[in-house]
């Protein structure tokens, strides 16, 4: 469990990035911070591994106030995945994945073996192990980034727009992969994105942020869709534009679903037990 308690952050230049932010992130679930740029979502994420220290307020991981923990030791037990993968260009894929285990004194042989296993986990061909990051596609680089984040088998995985820079096709592939991995590993994931669809897809809990880290709404995707807290949320999730305001029409005796603009969205079938995500 991660608890943000009255967190504020004022940067040296005077901008108030986060203003009195309080939330609890439950263990072993995915929480997504979603908001446009300037909402302080990345700042909040980087506070968890002390890459940014709050100006006031406290953050607890389980019962530890993280301001009392040594940053380097704290970072070594939290996985971190960033947008541009942040791989070390002068190290091969397998060495990149094994970076942190090697820092913490795991033997080279063990770290390498574990890294190869992790490549399987994230769906990377082992043949790529000795390539350099610059020889991989963007999607492959992000997979390496995820593998590296998982290398220390952390309880907490921080993901800062990890799929933001890859093309839509690869992005959706990576998202599905993350859903699958999370089903197996059940980490406490804190995920930052500006893409509401991604937030609804991945998040057990979604936190919609306005400027300055003010919370517009917190809830499961279903709760937010069913009851947008205000006009801001309404606009943000796209209900207003009609993209998510679906209705049923009957065509040739079959029920089809159309969105607010009258475009066909799909076919309506009677629900089966495992269809869709549980609310």
């Amino acid at each position: 469990m991660i608890r943000f308690d009255g967190i504020s952050k004022r940067f040296p230049d005077g901008t108030l990035a986060v203003d009195d932010f309080t939330i609890t992130i439950p263990s072993r679930t995915t929480t997504v911070f979603v908001g446009s740029s300037g909402s302080g979502k990345t700042t909040l994420l980087r506070m968890v591994n002390r890459m940014v220290d709050p100006t006031s307020g406290s953050i607890h991981i389980d019962d530890d106030d993280i301001s009392t923990l040594e940053p380097v030791a704290l970072r070594r037990r939290i996985g971190y995945v960033m947008q541009n993968s942040g791989l070390l260009p002068h190290r091969t894929v397998v060495d990149n994945v094994a970076t942190v285990p090697l820092l913490t004194g795991v033997s080279k042989r063990e770290a390498r073996a574990a890294a190869l296993d992790l490549m399987d986990t994230v769906g990377l061909d082992r043949a790529l192990a000795d390539r350099y990051p610059s020889q991989l596609s963007g999607g492959q680089q992000q997979r390496v980034g995820v593998a590296r984040g998982l290398a220390i088998d952390p309880n907490i995985l921080l993901m800062d727009e990890p799929f933001g820079a890859v093309d839509p096709l690869v992005r959706s592939e990576l998202q599905q992969e993350l859903v699958r991995i999370q089903k197996d590993l059940a980490k406490t994931i804190v995920f930052v994105t500006h893409d509401i669809d991604e937030a609804f897809l991945l998040g057990d809990q979604v936190v919609i942020l306005k400027t300055g880290g003010r919370i517009a709404q917190v809830g499961t995707p279903a709760e937010i869709l069913a009851n947008p807290a205000d006009e801001f949320v309404d606009t943000f999730i796209g209900a207003e534009r009609g993209r998510r305001a679906l209705s049923i029409q009957t065509v040739n005796g079959k029920e089809v679903v159309v969105d607010g603009t009258g475009r066909l969205a799909g076919i309506l079938r009677s629900p089966t037990p495992e269809s869709g995500r549980s609310a």
């Binding site: 980087r46 591994n49 960033m82 260009p89 093309d167």
Partner: protein, 245 residues
Amino acid sequence: MNLFGDAFRWILEPSHWTGPNGIPNRILEHLAYTGLTVLIATLIAVALGLYIGHTGRFRGIAVSVTGAMRALPTLGLLVYLAVLFGLGIQFALIPTIIVLVVLAIPPLLAGAYSGVQSVDGRTVDAARSMGMTEWQILWKVEVPLALPLILGGIRSAVLQVVATATVAAYISLGGLGRYIIDALPVRDYTTVLVGALLVTILALVLDGILILCQRLTVPAGVRAIRSSPGQRSTTKSASTVSTAA
């Protein structure tokens, strides 16, 4: 033209290849001054440059101080220091090495700090987020990636020092400058040219060796980036290109 012919004949003359004033001995002396200078200057300047590059502190001061150092006239400084220390064969080495170190520091310092600063900030940020200590970031990330530029600094320092180490002869030391300084007063221009030619050849050979070292030390992953079109901002542009792909 005749002068060049005479100079080459002088160089090829076997008797000029033995004894304390022989070519091998003068080249060794010259290399010794150069080596000692570059060693001392590297210890000072690269340490300082890595510190400035990593922390971003004192960069402005470093730029203006090294700029001023470049402007110091080597010969003038040498004579001043020689007078200050008192002449004498056993002390002549000190002012000479100081003068050459002053000459070598600016390119070394610039190579080191610009090398570290050229490392993609996002790579450093990622290394820090993973839990590398500042020391580990410096040695495992910044130095390997900055190595080509650091060596570039060493290369240009070596070239300048080799060319300028001739001044050692001005205050009674040896080296290839001996041929020039001794021959000038007696208007023996052939020998002056011999000195100049030998310095030039030595510089070219050393530069060739250093270019080779520079090639060999470029980290393999970075070499893959460098081969793609676009110089300088390579790291950045190449990574955006590949993430977009």
